[in-house]
Symmetry: C2
Subunit: 453 residues, 2 copies
Amino acid sequence: MTKQYKYQLTENDIPKTWYNIQADLGFDLPPLLHPETKEPTILPPPLFAEALNEQEFSKEREIEIPDPVREIYSMWRPTPLIRARRLEKALDTPAHIYYKYEGGSPSGSHKPNTAVAQAFYAKQAGLNRLATETGAGQWGSALAFACGLMDMDCKVFMVRASYRQKPYRRVLMETLDAEVLPSPSAETPMGQAFLEQDPEHPGSLGIAISEAVFTAGTNDDTNYALGSVLNHVLMHQTVVGLEAQQQFEMADEYPDVLIGCIGGGSNFSGLVLPFVREKIVDGKDMRVIAVEPTAAPTLTEGLYAFDYGDTAQAAPIAKMFTLGHTFIPAPIHAGGLRYHGMAPIVSGLYDHGIIEAVAVAQLPVFEAAVQFARTEGIIPAPESAHAVKVAIDEALKAKEEGTEKVIAFNLSGHGHFDLAAYDAFKKGELEDFGFPAEEIEQAKQILPEVELA
Amino acid sequence: MTKQYKYQLTENDIPKTWYNIQADLGFDLPPLLHPETKEPTILPPPLFAEALNEQEFSKEREIEIPDPVREIYSMWRPTPLIRARRLEKALDTPAHIYYKYEGGSPSGSHKPNTAVAQAFYAKQAGLNRLATETGAGQWGSALAFACGLMDMDCKVFMVRASYRQKPYRRVLMETLDAEVLPSPSAETPMGQAFLEQDPEHPGSLGIAISEAVFTAGTNDDTNYALGSVLNHVLMHQTVVGLEAQQQFEMADEYPDVLIGCIGGGSNFSGLVLPFVREKIVDGKDMRVIAVEPTAAPTLTEGLYAFDYGDTAQAAPIAKMFTLGHTFIPAPIHAGGLRYHGMAPIVSGLYDHGIIEAVAVAQLPVFEAAVQFARTEGIIPAPESAHAVKVAIDEALKAKEEGTEKVIAFNLSGHGHFDLAAYDAFKKGELEDFGFPAEEIEQAKQILPEVELA
């Protein structure tokens, strides 16, 4: 063929190990703290399999991917690295734009990379159910898929606003045999408390986490699964970046700018961490940009402080960039980015100046997504569209500068479940929401008091 | 890995030529007839590019795939051949079940295989717009995608019932910059006539074809594109089967039973035609099963006769299995299978006893689809679920017989846009419709009178 568009690996190229950046950070991550005692803790054992706890704190550089997990990965992995030649042409830019496309997985996003691993370890530890929360539904769908293949039950607390707005995500999970409840629910004390305040409470990711954690904590047969934030979750996602490294070798290029959208941090980390290693260890000159929504600008506007992972203060306290655990972001369509905190690893990298961050608003994000769809033919999930927006901005900058920059981003999911949002955008009915300065200032005041020994 | 699930080819394995079964049929296809004169005709030149007309009647065995088409194919091709080991286990069958998964394409089905080719040839011929019809939306989405990449306009007449029931398919097409009209529309004389009968007329594929054909016939800059039925469309789909042949070599197996769902015939033919060649030419012993809905049982209950391709008698007359061009199938969710006729190639193969056919009802189809989703993790499109149903039936038969049969089917699309149907199924609200004996008897009476010289 005259022009190469796709860099495709074979099944044998699926990484045999995940990459654990804790081996190379050059700094220690602050401890996790127990939400009540505020003493250093591991992941609460009733919630997580021992193997995941080991991974959470391990400093081994490479951790073996179990065969059954690689076998399931092989359903959709390796994923393609695609050169966005038509987008380059439309932008008339000298930049080379690449995207790693994770939307071809059975649930349509990168989330199964960790869902399958978490279900495997829980099953191995003798559990027969996983409980979790989901916002927009990408994570819940991925865990329902993984539990189905592992022959486990799955219970999903779905933020009530999404449960109503995105019934098809719910149906997808139910068709895969998961039990889906709107959160806040009547099943947990924290859910009941919020429902008493407001029987139609729209819920939030922070509340749904509290409910899932409670469910796992009070049922012996049930573990908890989290779709982002934790170290082991980010590590499972590194298959994305490890494949991309092989694919850039095939393309005989190396990225100058790496971009990922960021909510809890897992898809961003999945792509960038193996490259960040080369930046830290080999001194590679490369910009790494985390893109967050102005509606939840955790890195660009948050504090680097100890805070609860959830609203009801049931999850451990972590040192992270946070807007405050009481902050509830505006209902942007990128539901996966509506989180008050940030993965401790990503927070540490940002604090050390190894990565950059930028916040973008909903309307320009959708504008970029439509341009991408019309040139590349793939409709991005609203979350992933944040990365598209900044990739386009960087490509236009390269055009101004006349530099042949290599730009790569993670197209972490397709937007087939988000077409109502695209319809609203087309009709001019989409709100921008913008930057909630006052709410953030208030929420930042409410952080736990922590004194480390 | 201990067990292989997926057989993955690389970009270089994407076929360089399509396979044209007209070289090997061993019988001549009856001529196409002009809808008015009833004389033998080529595809009407104002509707189709010359290159497609040549392909339609060619007897060359291999026809080169143009480089720009292969480049776009490479976005999602080669597609995986997956061994359904978890389904085998759930069925406790000695059969080996394989599926070729076409749902990973940007529009979620096999349809872009021909959409990209048709847009390429139209663009090459200097056209700047394609008009088409769509039922459930798979074909319209694929053509919108293809036109976007070829920098062409796209106009889609969408069956009004689907336009209402599946707004997200419409939004998908519009986001890809296509113009989408509910059919019958006020834009064409045939549309106007149906709207006069009933302003809320639900439409049908046959009516929508008439409107798209009229639009292409009366606009110099516009060609028509058809998503199935015609010889060149089926030929473009043979990339599916040509890849599968390579993949079965990798798996060191050969299918005993090949299965595809069938509406116009394109996804079935895409998988089976290269294997049918081996059956005809090399005498391979293999069953090839076309699965149709009981609501539109064209092969099992239709006549092999000359009939119009559309309701308004604007499209050419072809000899095919038909229920009569006035037959309007019940609104089953497998919208892509609601067609009164059948591809002439498929009809000829069935008439010669080279392939078999079976009709299945909506409820058992959804039951099979849910079982597949819960074991294999992929939710099938309702069309593809017809193939799943018969694959499961054959696997259970193999269990009874105690034979290690190799069964393969085309999983032509995912069901992410069909979750309302899965929801209805779960709630027990899905109708079975069954077999419309009386309507078929009536419609079969109304066929054109044709006397061949």
